[in-house]
Amino acid sequence: MMGDKKNIDRIFQEKFKDYEVFPEAHVWKGIEKELVKKRERRIVPLWLRFAGAAAILITVVSVGSRFYNNNDIKNNSPNTITNSDNSEENKDKNSKKEEQLLDKENVNKQLNGVATEKTLITTKQKPDQQNSTIPRITQKEERIQNVFNNKINNNVEVADNQQNIKEQQQDKNRNHFENAKQQEVNKENLILTDVEKPIKSQKKDILEELHEQNTIEEFRKNINKWSIGSTAGPVYMNSLEGSPIDPSLVDNSKNSKGSLTYGVKVNYKLSDKFSLQSGIQNIDLAYSTSNVKVIVSSSLLNQSNTSNINFNIKGASAQVFSSDAHITQAIEVSQIPFRKKSPFNNSGNLYQKLSYVEVPLEAKYTLVQKKLGVNLVGGFSTYFLYGNTISISSSGKSIPLGEASNVNDINFSGNVGLDLEYNISPNLFINTSPMLKYQLNTYSKNSGGFKPYFFGIYAGLNYRF
């Protein structure tokens, strides 16, 4: 009755050596269901991704082409209004315009290039991440549900299952018995080969990965679709060249006046990686041109008003000069009557201020989403002009001159930038977002090669719901 005494390790090892139990059919069905779901989920965001990229591309292209058309009209309408005496000057202007056009074309091309490059990057990056994150969340939720359901059914099922195992194992044991002799022979070898000693680092990798994914999953779970927040920050307007006020001021030095933008922002999450944001913001853009001389005369004298200013005083026309470059011309003009009474016979800084209501529409692509989130932002803004002043300031006094006549009531900008988010709590986060906005059709006519763009650092407190 007493068998051989055997070490407990050996007993277990021998018994479990070829231990196989085939699971019930519903297990595979469950796995298959998840795999199908995962596929479906993978297809939808892919579609959305392309749609998002296409939307950005279309807006950039359409706004760009609108801008082109504007330029064409400008070129076609001949400059007959300006004095025929200045024909040489006009030629210069024309050639200058062509240069500008070329420049703009280049910039536009670059813009498009950037946009397509970006979409390429986004499409490349997405599949992997999608793959590993989205389905996991729901998997996990389902798992939790499973466990919950299982607990309810536990008493019933455990009994059933136990029987199942027993039946299966009895079959197994019969097989074991039949194969016993063969197994004896192979025993030593099998023990040696069956015991696997896999490389430790690989194991660790998988463990770490699982753990990492877990923390991300847990974090993502808390994320809601909508968020609303404030946004405010300094804005700096700049242009590399040109002057929107008068061609003669092209070479004068110009300074951007930092000004403030503020507003509200709404963000809607389309998918795990993509979101759309919009809002409404007030923005003041201001910059000054230094060393400017303004000379006013009666319009009755048929003095041409070459600058893009609608003057406050009726019946007056004026010329704006750079006080460095046009001294001789200025002297000439200064022989006009009323010059001595003119309050504008000043040299100083010309100060232009434009106030807009900005409505941005931007797509956001998430690069990192942890406690600190990093997003790429691209899109465009529509601007509605409501404030437009030009003033001159000299020796501490500021005198309003009028308003710019060449500014469009509605214009657009192409926006690119980064958005950094820091999560204070699952629902509350602060963000800061350096953005570059390139304005597309601020000026309706002769912008003197002025290609305005501005740089803003927006910050805000946001609430997710």
């Binding site: 009755m1 070490n7 139990v21 298959e32 199908v36 998997q139 798992r143 299982n150 194992q169």
Partner: protein, 179 residues
């Protein structure tokens, strides 16, 4: 289709290939799950999650080392992950392992009974016993996998063995009394 072809098809998300891989390995891997789990139900959950991880990560299998070994590692890790989440790996008394001779009678012990014994062990003992005795991991590896010291792994193992031996002996003596 050869195994290599099957794996490659799986990498392309081919449902048929996935099904075939499942049919090929489900038996072995479910056996593994049964050893590492507390009951049949948990074993099914672990198999379910393990296979999803397998199909998710199969791109990472570069035909280095045996495929079965790779699968087993994922299943074992899935099981460990389950118990790590449930935080049942803490709080086990630690002792210096005693070198005891654990020998018992080989006769009339069913696989079924042994499985019951393993599943009846506390989670830490069950995992350490499985990893070391049945799946050939070293104490060093176990220590890093379960985030315990090597000493703890050793002492857990010997305590697990004592418990198992006592239960087997109890079972055998009852059986003898019945005869």
């Amino acid at each position: 289709m050869g195994l290599k072809q099957l794996i490659n098809s799986c990498k392309e998300n081919d449902r048929k290939a996935q099904s075939e891989i499942y049919q090929l390995f489900a038996g072995k891997l479910f056996g593994l799950c049964l050893k590492y789990s507390r009951n049949y139900q948990e074993a099914q959950d672990n198999l379910h999650n393990g296979f999803l991880t397998i199909f998710d990560k199969i791109e990472q299998y570069k035909f280095k080392g045996s495929f079965e070994g790779w699968l087993k590692r994922i299943i074992v890790n899935t099981a460990l992950q389950t118990y790590r989440e449930k935080n049942v790996l803490t709080l086990v008394s630690e002792e210096i392992p005693e070198e005891i001779d654990l020998e018992i009678d080989d006769e009339n012990i069913s696989l079924d009974f042994l499985l019951e014994l393993i599943q009846g062990l506390s989670t830490r003992y069950r995992l350490v016993f499985n990893l070391y005795v049945l799946d050939g991991y070293s104490h060093k590896e176990i220590a890093s996998m379960l985030n315990i010291s090597e000493g703890t792994s050793k002492s857990n193992l010997s305590r697990a063995k004592v418990i198992l031996r006592n239960k087997i002996e109890l079972y055998q003596s009852k059986k003898n009394e019945a005869l």
